[in-house]
Amino acid sequence: MAAEAEMMEASGPAIDPMHQFTLKPLFGEGPIHWYTPTNATLWMGIAVLGVIALLVLGTRRRAIVPSHTQSVAELAYGFVYQMVKDVAGKEGVKYFPYIMTLFIFIVFANFLGLIPLSFSVTSQIAVTVMLALLVFVSVTLLGFYKHGLKFLGLFWVTQAPLALRPILAIIEVISYFVRPVSHSIRLAGNVMAGHAVIEVFASFAASALIAPIALVGIVAMFGMDVLVAFIQAYVFTILTCVYLKDALHPSH
């Protein structure tokens, strides 16, 4: 412990890859109240503007033969729509706007977070936890609303032998309540790890000896983060669809 601390002190300016995730008030100093506009607020706002630019301004001509931007907007629409329909079934299509909202927000937040010196909204556990809880709570309520107590059949595996069913039920209940935890930490963890590793490489680049390796590392990590930005949005969305399917069709 002591040696570790010494090493950190010895390496000059301490490498603090987590500093980038700190919330700061946009205007002046001071405590962050619930209404204070922060850097997170700013980048969420930019994400909203991005959504408007892509999905509203990009489609304003309603062209039969689409422009580039309109193509991308239609692609995003078709991608999520197909996902909802394939995973959650035809009844799930009703909830497509909510799922599209989640997907498009996460995609924009992830990609905006890749801009150097920006703030990555989805690296905040507060944000992903709220998204995951939104999904968890609304899906659970929807399940009970649609099926009443029969929704609990989700935990009662009727294909299994009777003796095993109570044990399976306990496992199912635990896994059900772990869902929002994994759902949220997966997204925040991936985004955060990618950014932190880039920053670690970047701090190595200050030393001329290993700068080339560090630069290659930064480029490689950035390339991977671009993939992660999309894949994690996709994973979050498809899991939401899976949970929605469980709520609509709880029987095993």
């Binding site: 002591a2 919330l23 922060t38 959504v51 999905l55 078709g78 706007p97 690296s123």
Partner: protein, 189 residues
């Protein structure tokens, strides 16, 4: 040496556990676990999500859906029109083939008819020519027979005259009747 560092580490851990806002400031801590910023993030995230949801459900999604279905409609319409045109082309080709076959049949009929006509005319002409030839040859035969008859008589006359002259030249008075009989006898032989 040991005491301050462990204290510092302990302090950092404390800060993280307490999550009272100091965690963000202490090096190595996770700013994400600074729970004092959570209400702020929850609030602004809710605002952002509601805004995006309103934009999507009111404007963007209906518009994209309309564009996509319109495009689908256009494509379906175009395909139907193409199918119709193709059908028309097939029909036109059939009509053309039928007209061609009709014309060919008509032509064959005309050819056959004309051939029959010509054949009839030809037959008639041949018959007429044959009759003419027969008439002409009969006429000629008659003429030849006449000529032959007249020439026989002339020969007989000449022979009798010559015989009479020969006999006279011998100084004998020729018996006209005996000479005629002899000439006739000779010419028969």
């Amino acid at each position: 040496m040991t005491t301050p560092t462990t204290e510092a580490a302990g302090h950092a851990a404390e800060g993280m556990a307490e999550a009272a806002g100091h965690a963000a400031e202490s090096a190595g801590g996770m700013p994400q676990l600074d729970f004092s910023t959570y209400p702020n993030q929850f609030f602004w995230l809710a605002v952002a999500l509601v805004l995006i949801y309103l934009i999507l459900s009111r404007v963007a999604l209906p518009r994209i859906e309309a564009v996509l279905s319109e495009r689908q409609g256009t494509i379906t319409g175009d395909l139907a029109a193409a199918e119709e045109l193709k059908q028309k082309a097939v029909e036109a080709e059939e009509a053309y083939n039928k007209a061609l076959a009709d014309a060919r049949a008509e032509a064959n009929r005309i050819v056959a008819e004309t051939r029959a006509e010509i054949q009839a005319e030809l037959d008639e002409a041949i018959a007429r020519a044959d009759a003419e030839i027969a008439a002409k040859s009969a006429e000629s035969e008659q003429a030849i027979a006449e000529i032959r008859a007249s020439s026989e008589k002339a020969i007989k006359d000449v022979a009798r005259d010559v015989a009479k002259a020969i006999v006279a030249s011998f100084g004998v008075k020729a018996d006209a009747r005996a000479i005629t009989a002899a000439v006739t006898q000779r010419m028969k032989g």
